[in-house]
Amino acid sequence: MQRRVVFENKWLPYLLLAPQVAITLVFFHWPAAQAIEQSMLLQDAFGLRQTFVWFENFEVVLSDPNYLGTMRVTAIFSAAVTVLSMALALLFAVLANAHIVGRGTYKTLLIWPYAVAPAVAAVLWLFIFNPEIGVLGRALNNIGLRWDYRLNDAQALFMVVAASAWKQVSYNFIFFLAGLQAIPRSLLEAAAIDGAGPVRRFWTVTFPLLSPTTFFLLVVNVVYAFFETFGVIHALTRGGPGKATETLIYRVYLDGVINNDMGSSSAQSVLLMLVVVALTAIQFRFIERKVHYA
């Protein structure tokens, strides 16, 4: 945790820390504390008076059937984005990692979507799948599928999942590729000499050795699906039709910004904080264990 040789100075370290600590206090600790305080306050209809209500806001939020529906949508959405983007990334990484010509080119051609903003990814997909002007949207209607993601729940969910996963594959690809390159060749060669075919080698040697990467990506992708996909949903469906694509973070935005219900919005924020803290804790436990057998 600490170097053996250090500099001696009474005030310099505090001066060096000051900018980051100041920004962190003002824009992180203070708002986080406010969120917790606000989540236990109830505002009257005119916003004039606030009463301390303990956990009433949480009770209201958690017993709201709409909120439970939003949780269900978030669970389905996050699982779909995570599984889809990780599976595709793993497939591409395994293929690109094999001794084939043009590995570097494939790598470059697969990682650039990382740079595309989630909201922009949504616009790209919207332009293709728009039922009136999109190439594929029109094609689907022409073959009689009645495609309109603005009216159909399942189609809306498909759109937000596809756009979110499309953007995330490149991130997972980079990590899987790095993980694959760290696997010693000798292990795979030994398995090959023992007569294991490529598929068997993958499932008995490569996949287990990749598990630290896979687990890490699992957590990162869930966090991505929970929070960073706000732009995708805002650009594509605004949570609709109805509440078919309303995720937890979108609901925080709706209640806090559009409906101006600070108590409920803050209670939801605090619940989300707990989710992230839990995910981070799981990840740290795992990373510690990884150090053990590395």
Binding site: R3, V120, F127, I133, V276
Partner: protein, 282 residues
């Protein structure tokens, strides 16, 4: 032998298919930016480029009025995005390298308290604390300003941890030698530590630039005037609710322009980018 050849081709086929699926949306956007609004609105846009490319890009770049809608000129939105991305990237790197230097190279009361204060921010993405942070920024009168747009996103535990990790690997002999030569801490920082950190700084810069450029929810809340709009938010605003008539040709030109800087940074600085990504998440 031919069967063997065919098997060897399968990985290429799958990868090429993947590359094409990834490139297809971009291709359609590019094509969309070369036709006129009416052709696209009729819904029979060809799959090959049209002749309106120069017009569309010039129009989107300079004008604030399309055929059908009003929007902010792209040059203004791009400038806002550049300012935002650069301020966040440079700001995060500067404050993080300074605080990592303090935590790694000094022993002082409260060191671990400060470390944990910074470390805990790792846990909460800005989206989670968005409403209360918005309130703080509003109370400080920073709504619709570059300061409000960037400073709240600058605090970063990731960068601090990365620098600290790297500083811990610097050999003690180097520090002792510097001390023996009579160098104070700041001289050591500027002449030894900064040059050694070049790779880490470049890698972090790529990641943070993209992070800043791609922000959505925060600028959506903080910017209220058209002059402050960032390009990612601006595109979605141009589409609106999809009910009214839309200048798809201009939107597609804007989308291409909005993707250009971050994609260029990733492709041109690919080596730093991959390193930065893998290191900062460790």
């Amino acid at each position: 032998m031919t069967a063997r050849r065919l098997v060897d081709l399968v990985p290429h086929a799958v990868l090429i298919l993947g590359v094409l699926i990834f490139a297809f949306p971009i291709y359609m956007t590019l094509i969309g930016s070369t036709w006129d609004a009416a052709t696209i609105a009729r819904g029979n846009m060809p799959l090959t480029p049209g002749g309106e490319m120069a017009n569309n890009y010039a129009h989107a770049w300079n004008e604030s009025r399309g055929e059908r809608a009003v929007f902010t000129p792209v040059r203004i939105m791009m400038l806002n995005s550049v300012v935002m991305a650069l301020t966040i990237a440079v700001g995060k790197i500067v404050i993080s390298i300074l605080s990592a230097f303090a935590i790694a190279f000094f022993r002082f009361p409260g060191r671990m308290v400060f470390f944990w204060m910074i470390f805990i921010t790792l846990m909460l993405p800005v989206e989670v604390r968005i409403i209360p942070t918005y309130k703080v920024v509003a109370d400080l009168g920073l709504i619709d300003s570059y300061a409000g747009l960037t400073i709240p996103l600058i605090a970063s535990a990731t960068a601090t941890l990365l620098f600290r990790q790297f500083f811990l690997t610097i050999p003690d002999e180097l520090v002792e030698a510097a001390k023996m030569d009579g160098a104070g801490p700041m001289r050591f920082f500027l002449d030894v530590l900064l040059p050694l950190s070049r790779t880490n700084i470049a890698a972090l810069f790529v990641i943070l630039f993209i992070y800043g450029w791609n922000q959505y929810l925060w600028p959506l809340l903080i910017t209220t005037s058209r002059e402050m709009q960032t390009v990612v938010v601006g595109i979605v605003a141009m589409i609106g609710n999809g009910e009214s008539a839309t200048d798809w040709n201009l939107i597609m030109a804007t989308t291409m322009l909005a993707m250009l800087p971050p994609v260029a940074v990733v492709v041109l600085m690919q080596r730093w980018f991959v390193k930065g990504l893998v290191d900062s998440e460790k």
